[in-house]
């Protein structure tokens, strides 16, 4: 339909998550209409991110590649290499963007472990596809005493959390395992909450006096 390079650009864009064929076409035309230096900047940014960013060898968060620090075993992210972060508490999340979300809250001072997804057998995502083995290996090796499960409060996330609880029981160490509470959104009204959220919020209630 279009000249080959245009069609290739549309096809590549269409492969991105959340971009349908129409959006891919729109973005492709936008790129083609914009000045050459804008397009070059985008291409460079994609390239630079891909060559300079890698996964933290410890927690699987994003990490910047650093040939001077890499002895062949990979690099660590800013959080893992920060001596002020408490290595005895691990917060387990599904995706690197969840690390960013929790970091914004400023509350957590420990380290993370990114699973790279959540269990979803129906989509072919089993425990072996996630960084679960690596998580279990970290507990004893790093002297972790508490794990905070911070997976999404949806079906896949809670299945993943329950699966991890089962796996932790097999570890030969004493480990405190907590799970992020499911509750009512701050600033909302009780009557708008769905029954599932409300039930879980009631179950997760805590003593205040």
């Amino acid at each position: 339909m279009y000249a080959t390079p245009v069609q290739e650009l549309i096809d590549e864009l269409g492969r991105l998550p959340g971009i349908g064929p129409k959006s891919a076409q729109r973005i492709a035309f936008h790129i083609l209409k914009s000045p050459a230096e804008d397009a070059a900047r985008l291409a460079n940014a994609v390239n630079a991110a891909k060559t300079r960013v890698t996964w933290c060898r410890r927690c699987f968060n994003f990490a910047e590649t650093d040939p001077s620090a890499d002895d062949g075993t990979g690099v660590e992210c800013d959080i893992c290499s920060n001596p002020r972060r408490d290595p005895s508490v691990l917060c387990v999340v599904e995706e690197p963007r969840h690390v960013v979300a929790i970091e914004k809250s400023g509350w957590f001072k420990g380290r993370y472990h990114v699973l790279m997804g959540a269990l979803s057998p129906i989509d072919g995502i089993f425990a072996e596809q996630l960084r679960i083995k690596e998580l279990l290996a970290r507990i004893e090796a790093e002297g972790v005493s508490e794990v905070i499960l911070c997976t999404d409060p949806d079906q896949e996330g809670s299945a993943t959390a329950m699966y991890l609880v089962r796996e932790f029981k097999h570890l030969p160490v004493k480990l405190k395992v907590t799970k992020v509470a499911v509750g009512l959104p701050v600033g909302s009204e009780l009557e708008f909450a769905d029954e599932l959220t409300l039930t879980m919020a009631l179950e997760d209630r805590r003593e205040v006096s």
């Binding site: 269990l119 057998p121 949806d154 079906q155 809670s158 029954e195 599932l196």
Partner: protein
């Protein structure tokens, strides 16, 4: 394109874009429905957790060209225990996966819907080892592939003249020693499957876990997989090793 109401069980859900989900529903009147639930991944969504997989909901939907849109969803009945245990949750998902394979879009599925709701209710209230297997056997029967159990599915000879010692859904059910192929079938498992399909389901569901219930569950899974010509991904996943 218009508004319509139906009830439904959420069979599965996919993330869509930034904050939406596509849900696959099993409804009595409209069969399998694929619909977009807008904004449900935001904390302040009005629908919120009601469209999580396995939820039983009352729906108001807008019929679209490709995908319908969920306008409202109210819980039809809450599950109390289903989601709190990994084994129960995976068993529920295993039934949802099988139901999704059998249901068709735009074809009423009253019987399948009722079966699934009842099975989920059992799983929530008094889960036994045969909830999923019973659902699979009933699903085979509903889909026109109910096995022959009273006589050999191949030669027609019946007990006590022959004993039925094997099972192959591709052959139509239980098989005598001369016609044997497929999976071995113990007398106790043969009786349990007969209970499930012969009007004594409640009794079968009370049976405690044993090697026989495991055999019946295994036969149910391989039979349904053979009938659907598809590997059921959730059937064995997440069960403790």
């Amino acid at each position: 394109m218009s508004l319509y109401r139906d009830r439904g069980v959420v069979l599965r859900s996919y993330k869509l874009g930034e904050a939406d989900r596509i849900v696959v529903l099993l409804t009595p009147e409209h069969g399998k429905v694929r619909a977009v639930a807008k904004g449900v991944r935001r904390p302040k969504s009005k629908i919120g957790g009601r469209l999580e997989p396995l939820s039983h909901v009352e729906l108001l939907l807008w019929g679209g060209k490709e995908l319908d849109i969920v306008r409202q969803a109210e819980l039809a009945e809450p599950w109390h225990f289903l989601r709190r245990d990994l084994v129960h949750l995976s068993r529920g998902m295993a039934m949802a996966e099988a139901a999704e394979q059998v249901a068709q879009e735009g074809e009423p599925a009253e019987a399948l819907y009722v079966m699934l709701v009842k099975a989920l209710r059992t799983l929530d209230e008094r889960p036994g080892p045969l909830v999923v297997a019973s659902f699979y056997w009933k699903l085979l029967a509903l889909d026109g592939a109910g096995p022959v159990l009273g006589s050999c599915a191949n030669c027609g000879a019946s007990p006590p003249a022959v004993s039925l010692v094997a099972f192959d859904i591709a052959q139509g059910g239980a098989l005598c020693r001369a016609c044997r192929r497929g999976e071995p079938l113990s007398p106790a498992a043969h009786e349990l499957v007969s209970w499930i399909l012969g009007g004594s389901l409640a009794r079968a569901l009370e049976v405690p876990a044993s090697s026989t219930t495991a055999e019946v569950a295994h036969l149910a899974t391989v039979s349904l997989e053979a009938h659907l010509e598809k590997h059921l991904r959730t059937a064995r996943a997440l069960e403790p090793a």
